[in-house]
């Protein structure tokens, strides 16, 4: 497993910001490059451990397949659901166009 010695590149920070849907200015990009590199450096501590035959724990409850009956139940009304929307149109949330034609 390759050791991560080098700092994060600005390109990686920009790519991560795109994935996270965050618009960062150049100052923020530079700051996060430094701070995240520092945190990642600390996190690299985990490379010390041997992980052979250890199963991952994604959650601690031992529960699985927690389902309920597929029945319609009362929920929020349309009015309630739209009550915090910036823009609504005839009972719909208004969003930016995906198709620009």
């Amino acid at each position: 497993m390759a050791k991560r010695n080098e700092l994060l590149t600005i390109e990686e920070v920009k790519h991560t910001a795109t994935l996270a849907k965050l618009k960062l200015d150049p100052e923020e990009l530079a700051k996060f490059k430094d701070q995240l590199s520092q945190v990642l450096g600390y996190i690299n501590k985990l490379q010390e451990l041997k992980m052979k035959d250890i199963l991952p724990t994604s959650q601690v409850t031992d529960l699985s397949n927690v389902f309920r009956k597929d029945e319609i139940r009362p929920s929020l009304t349309q009015t309630e659901t739209l009550s915090n929307a910036k823009e609504a149109y005839q009972g719909f949330f208004k969003v930016e166009a995906i198709f620009t034609e």
Partner: protein, 458 residues
């Protein structure tokens, strides 16, 4: 004696005897809030008292405060962030429903590090809360306002969340009792999610007895929360006076290492002596993977929260994502990175495996001992801005608390003294669903000291 000075236990007795009314009790707290909130900034929203009506139920008439991360129907809920500055929820969280049904009334919503990201309260977009014992010091976070509200006697109980220590740390910094229940003991439904496999829903009170009383209401299975447990809810107060004779308590050697403030170590060791004089037996134990816990946590938690915060799109609710504060952005970036293609295995998957080892440390320890006692913080409360320039230094505040969130085990923070004028707490940790035992230990220790009687000079 003013009504706001009462414990829940005392208030319920007084109400039953009709020494005062539910309205009097609420008014006393509201008056206290009006007097102190400008100085301490504990509350972001104070509820109006329109159409007050008497209630019935186990907590009838008890005024409570809620971390502003609990959804309250028609009462603004901000998560401490500009993103939700104007958000009005359309429903109550399950815990709020339970509390209202049991007769409690809501005083308001308390301040917090935005999105529960923080250990000091300084990440609030609405200015931090202040430590009532000395307002130039932090009250701890992220449930800062809730801890302050109880410590300053603005509320008889308050509610918070603990994902990496966010109840236990402010409880210790403010000389109040704070419970992090077993993961899944209390429903997370309607509470703004931070790290969904770590978030634990708990509360602050003046005494351990009060804390046990509250858990009787909030604990229990909730069909709205797929991770909530069907484990039966114990009567947490019934055997609270049974004492701790012959209980085996483990002292984890990894929690008493170099770098810890020796004054805190001395206070915790003194507390252990008190417990010993009350009949407890001690054994040194090891939680060998403790040193990896913080690194594990700072991969898993940001990863989970980057996913949880993706919903804040500014379309269905809230403002644009540009309104996220620096810490939120930092954690979203960290989490997105560690989950991204090419890095998932190295970081997230690896951290999940270390989590298995950390959980196992506790399972093994509890084969030898009934409970574990440890400090909550390696340092006393710190001054504002002392750690804000160094995110990593701030993250290290959680070094003794994150392990319990990774393992899912419950932990009760109880005051154990002061360094100068600043409070110090210890934590009592137990196996899954052992809250009844934790309350018994905490209550026995508490009643053998006077920390719970101390109040800040306000």
């Amino acid at each position: 004696m003013e009504l706001y000075q009462l414990t829940i236990k005392e208030a319920l007795i007084g109400l039953a005897k009709k020494e005062f009314s539910q309205k009097d009790l609420r008014e006393s707290c509201l008056k206290r809030i009006r007097k102190l909130n400008q100085k301490l900034n504990a509350f972001l929203t104070v509820a109006e008292t329109k159409n007050f009506s008497e209630t019935g139920g186990i907590l009838a008439g008890i005024p409570i405060a809620l971390k502003d991360i609990y959804l309250t129907k028609e009462m603004r809920t901000t998560a401490g962030s500009f993103v939700l500055e104007n958000y009005i929820p359309q429903y109550n969280s399950s815990v709020v429903e339970r509390l209202l049904k049991s007769g409690a009334n809501i005083l308001g919503k308390t301040n917090l590090d935005a999105w529960a990201h923080g250990s000091s309260g300084e990440n609030s977009d609405f200015n931090p809360s202040k430590n009532p014992y000395d307002p130039s010091f932090v009250p701890g976070g992220s449930s800062s306002g809730s801890a302050v509200a109880v410590a300053a006697e603005m509320s008889l109980a308050s509610f918070g969340t603990d994902t990496g220590g966010s109840i236990r740390l402010p409880a210790s910094f403010c000389n109040v009792v704070g419970l992090k229940p077993t993961y899944g003991r209390v429903s997370r439904y309607g509470i703004i999610a931070m790290a969904s496999s770590h978030d634990s829903i708990g509360h602050f009170t003046k005494t351990v007895f009060d804390n046990a009383l509250i858990l009787k209401i909030t604990a229990g299975h909730d069909p709205h929360d797929g991770t909530s447990s069907r484990e039966p809810v114990a009567d947490y107060t019934k055997r609270i006076n049974q004492g701790i004779k012959n209980l085996k308590i483990g002292i984890p050697k990894e929690y008493f290492q170099k770098g810890m403030d020796p004054r805190i170590e001395a206070l915790v060791k003194k507390a252990l002596q008190v417990m010993e004089s009350l009949g407890a037996k001690f054994e040194e134990i090891s939680l060998p993977h403790t040193e990896y816990a913080l690194a594990t946590y700072y991969i898993l938690q940001p990863s989970e929260l980057s996913s949880n915060l993706a919903r804040y799109d500014g379309i269905r609710f809230g403002e644009d994502r540009a309104c996220f504060g620096a810490e939120a952005k930092r954690r979203i970036m960290l989490g997105t990175y560690t989950l991204s293609a090419g890095y998932y295995d190295a970081y997230y998957l690896k951290a999940m495996k270390v989590r298995t080892l950390i959980k196992r440390d506790f399972t093994e320890a509890f084969k030898k001992v009934d409970a574990i006692v440890a400090p909550v913080s390696p340092t006393r409360p710190f001054k504002f801005k002392e750690k804000t320039n160094d995110p990593l230094a701030m993250y290290l505040s959680d070094i003794y608390t994150v392990t319990m969130n990774l393992a899912g085990v419950p932990s009760l923070a109880v005051p154990c003294g002061f360094v100068g004028s600043l409070p110090v707490g210890l934590q009592v940790i137990g196996p899954f669903f052992s809250e009844e035992l934790l309350f018994r230990i905490g209550h026995t220790y508490e009643q053998a000291n006077n920390w719970y009687k101390m109040r800040p000079k306000l």
